[in-house]
C-alpha cells in the first residue's frame, strides 16, 4: 500500500494569517471552545510545545503575551474541503485525518500520470502553495506522516525502507494520539519512538489498552490501517450576499426563502426531498456562524423547509451581523411521492408558470421575475423597508 500524507502545518493559523496579515511575526494562539472548555486548536510557528487540545490556561501561562483568536471552524473546514476535493481529482482514495492533514492512496496511479514524478507533480498542484504543504510518501499512513513532518514546504519526502531505524529518533508527539496519552508516555520516560520500540508489546497494552498496541506497532514502522475514502454526500447549495450586514431576523428569513426557492427549482432537486439544511454565514468581526437544521421529516418544497428553519432561527438566532448567507440542503432522498391537496390555488401558479415559460422561449433565457416583499417595514430608512425577491412559481 503506497500512501501520501499531505500535511498543512498550522493550517488554521495559515488561514487566519491570510485573513489578517498583521499577525505575521506575532505569537498567536487559536482557541477553540467546546462545552465551556477552552483549549488550544493551533498556534503560530513561533510557539512550541502547545499541541492541539492543550488547555488554554497552560497556553496562557507559558505564552502570556500571545494574541488569542477565536477559532473560525466553519471557515477552516470549508477551505480544507476545497483542498480535499482537489485531491480527489488526483486519486479516488482520499481520507481526511484531521484539519490540515489528509491521506491519499497512490496505488496504481503512477501509470496514469506518466510515472512517479508526474504523480508527485499532480499531487503538489492540488494544494495552494501559499499554505506551505508538505508531502510524505510511505507504505502506510504513519510512515507517510512522519516523512511529511520532516519535509520542507513544497517538498516531497519518501520514507526509507528501514522504517524502524528512521522513526527511532522521532518524539512521541508525532504519534496520532491524544494529548493526555502523549503526556502519559512522557511521564513514563518514553520520549521517542525508539524508546517505545524497545519495550515489549505486553506492558504497552497493559498501560494503554488497544491504543498501546497501535503505538507499539507504529514505533516498529508497521501501520496496516487502511485508507477509508470520504463519503461524498449529494448536496445543493446557494448563497446570497448582503450589501450591508444584517441582524434582524426578518431579512434573514427573506433571504432564506429566496435561496430555498432557487434550490428547489434546480433540476437535480426536482421531485426529491431533503432531510436537513445547513445555514452558514460570514459575520462581521467574528468567526463564521453555522446552524444545522434537521427536518422532522424529509421536505420537498421550500415553504415546509422555511417553517422548520424559521423555528430553529427563532430559538437560536445568529450572534451578530451577517455579511452573507449560504444554505445547503443535505440528506437528499430518492424521488418520492406525496399525496397533494386537490383544493389548492393551482390555477394562478400554473398560469404564471406558463407565462414565464413562454417568455423564456421568446427571449431565449429565463426572464428575471421578482416578488415585492416586506423586509423591515418599521425602518425609518425607506430603502430598507421592502425588497424584491426572485420568485419561482
Amino acid at each position: 500500500m503506497l500512501v501520501a500524507c499531505v500535511l498543512l502545518k498550522h493550517f488554521p493559523f495559515q488561514l487566519e494569517r491570510e485573513r489578517l496579515p498583521r499577525l505575521v511575526g506575532h505569537e498567536v494562539v487559536i482557541v477553540e471552545t467546546r462545552r465551556n472548555n477552552r483549549t488550544v486548536l493551533d498556534t503560530s510557528p513561533a510557539i512550541s510545545g502547545l499541541s492541539p487540545g492543550t488547555p488554554l490556561q497552560e497556553g496562557q501561562a507559558r505564552y502570556p503575551e500571545a494574541i488569542q483568536l477565536e477559532a473560525d471552524i466553519p471557515l477552516y473546514q470549508r477551505r480544507f474541503e476545497e483542498i480535499l476535493a482537489a485531491l480527489e481529482q488526483v486519486s479516488p482514495v482520499v481520507q481526511e485525518s484531521e484539519l490540515g492533514c489528509a491521506y491519499v492512496g497512490l496505488d496504481g496511479l503512477s501509470g496514469m500520470y506518466g510515472g512517479t514524478d508526474g504523480l508527485m507533480k499532480v499531487l503538489k498542484a492540488a494544494v495552494p502553495p501559499n499554505l506551505e504543504p508538505r508531502f510524505g510518501i510511505g507504505p502506510g499512513k504513519f510512515p507517510a506522516t512522519t516523512a511529511a513532518v520532516t519535509a520542507e514546504p513544497g517538498q516531497v519526502v519518501f520514507a526509507p525502507t528501514d522504517l524502524k531505524g528512521f522513526l527511532a529518533s522521532y518524539p512521541v508527539d508525532v504519534l496520532p494520539i491524544s494529548w493526555e496519552t502523549c503526556a502519559r508516555l512522557k511521564r513514563l520516560g518514553l520520549k521517542t519512538l525508539g524508546d517505545i520500540a524497545r519495550q515489549a508489546i505486553g506492558p504497552m497494552q497493559a498501560h494503554f489498552g488497544p491504543e498501546g498496541k497501535l503505538i507499539w506497532e507504529m514505533a516498529q514502522g508497521v501501520d496496516t490501517r487502511p485508507i477509508i475514502p470520504r463519503k461524498r454526500e449529494l448536496q445543493f447549495s446557494a448563497r446570497v450576499d448582503f450589501p450591508v450586514p444584517i441582524v434582524a431576523l426578518e431579512p434573514i428569513l427573506l433571504a432564506t426563502e429566496s435561496i430555498l426557492a432557487r434550490l428547489f427549482a434546480l433540476p437535480g432537486l426536482r421531485g426529491r426531498y431533503s432531510r436537513a439544511a445547513l445555514l452558514q454565514a460570514a459575520m462581521t468581526r467574528r468567526p463564521s456562524w453555522q446552524r444545522r437544521v434537521a427536518f422532522k421529516e424529509a421536505v420537498g418544497d421550500p415553504q415546509k423547509a422555511l417553517v422548520a428553519i424559521k423555528y430553529a432561527l427563532e430559538l437560536h438566532s445568529p450572534p451578530g451581523p451577517l455579511e452573507d448567507l449560504t444554505l445547503t440542503l443535505m440528506g437528499i432522498t430518492g424521488e418520492a411521492g406525496r399525496q397533494g391537496n386537490l383544493v389548492v390555488d393551482l390555477r394562478k401558479q400554473d398560469q404564471l408558470r406558463e407565462v414565464l415559460q413562454q417568455l423564456e422561449v421568446r427571449l431565449g433565457k429565463r426572464p428575471p421575475f421578482y416578488q415585492f416583499r416586506s423586509a423591515e417595514p418599521w425602518s425609518r430608512i425607506p430603502e430598507r423597508r421592502n425588497v424584491m425577491v426572485e420568485y419561482f412559481p
Binding site: F242, S258, R262, S379, I381, R385, M388, V389
Partner: protein, 95 residues
C-alpha cells in the same frame, strides 16, 4: 463600526426597492431647497414638512438625512432629502 460588505448585487439575489436618486437642488444658506432641476427647472413653492433621520450610527457609513416634502410650482409634491454627511441631494418616496 460595522463595515459595508461592499458586495455587489448578483442575479438571483435580493434587489433593493425605492433607492434614492440624485437630483440637482438650489438651496439657500440654511439648506432649505428653493428650486429643483428635473427635466426643467422648477421652483419650490412651499415646504410642507421637514424631518430628520439619524440611523445606523454604528456602521462605517451611517445614515443622516434631512427630508423635505416640497410643493413645486406646477403642483407636484416631491419628497427629497439632503444627505447630511456628503451634502448631496436625492429624491425618494417616503411612503
Amino acid at each position: 463600526m460595522v463595515k459595508d460588505t461592499g458586495a455587489s448585487q448578483r442575479d438571483g439575489g435580493i434587489l433593493p426597492v425605492n433607492e434614492p436618486e440624485t437630483i440637482a437642488v438650489d438651496a439657500d444658506d440654511k439648506g432649505k431647497p428653493l428650486a429643483v432641476k428635473m427635466r426643467t427647472h422648477r421652483k419650490v413653492e412651499a415646504i410642507l414638512s421637514c424631518w430628520r433621520i439619524d440611523e445606523e450610527w454604528w456602521r462605517e457609513k451611517p445614515v443622516s438625512r434631512l427630508y423635505f416634502t416640497a410643493l413645486l410650482d406646477d403642483g407636484v409634491l416631491l419628497t427629497l432629502f439632503r444627505d447630511l454627511i456628503t451634502g448631496e441631494w436625492y429624491r425618494q418616496s417616503y411612503e
